[in-house]
Symmetry: C2
Subunit: 120 residues, 2 copies
């Protein structure tokens, strides 16, 4: 999934705030099961209303999704959107300049290489 420009702008804006970047991290680590809002708030050290504000922001930007589960509202990272953001960044940087991508490709390799042939 490749993002549209306005989606990418929203996503960059979402990630340009420390609390929100940390929230994304926390939710990515939490995996597909996600985490209730309160736990996210606690992990990033935000008040409940502040956390709610940032989580809606992230949800609006498409980077996370939410679902109600009993009294809690569970937030999960949207891997597709995150992946799309990386793609957008590279496609927008790559325009005729593959040398920018070289370092990124190295990062792909060094960051996590469970399966070697990750290419499509």
């Amino acid at each position: 999934m490749k993002l549209q420009e306005h989606q990418a702008l929203d996503a960059f804006a979402a990630l340009s705030q420390g609390t929100r970047l940390q929230m994304v991290r926390v939710l990515v680590i939490a995996g597909k099961a996600g985490l209730p809002a309160g736990v996210v708030a606690e992990k990033v050290g935000a008040s409940s209303s502040s956390a709610s504000f940032h989580l809606s922001h992230l949800e609006h930007s498409g980077l996370v999704a939410s679902k109600r589960e009993g009294r809690s509202i569970i937030y999960t990272a949207d891997y597709d959107a995150l992946s799309g953001l990386v793609q957008f960044l590279m496609a927008d940087c790559c325009q005729g300049h593959p040398e920018i991508i070289a370092g990124a490709a190295a990062a792909v390799a060094s960051c996590c290489q469970p399966q070697d042939g990750a290419n499509a």
Copy 2:
């Protein structure tokens, strides 16, 4: 080059603004030679003072560099920083979740593959 968190935050903030994202695009396309401020301003449709504001913002964030050349001030995209930003994004997304990276790796492959063995 991998970015520090505060650098990444600044970079995301820089890219979260339409005019600035376009400026980065224009400068990446322009290549190592760069472009004078006035030309960048014209290409993105900004007034000279607005362009100056955004270009300083980008320079402060480390995404572009500037050098005086006669009357003009030439701006160039910093490929290292751009590459570092992609790396930061992937490393921060990759934490135990290589599946986010799969799509990104595909993008690396499809976006620009002049040399196949781009891995470090």
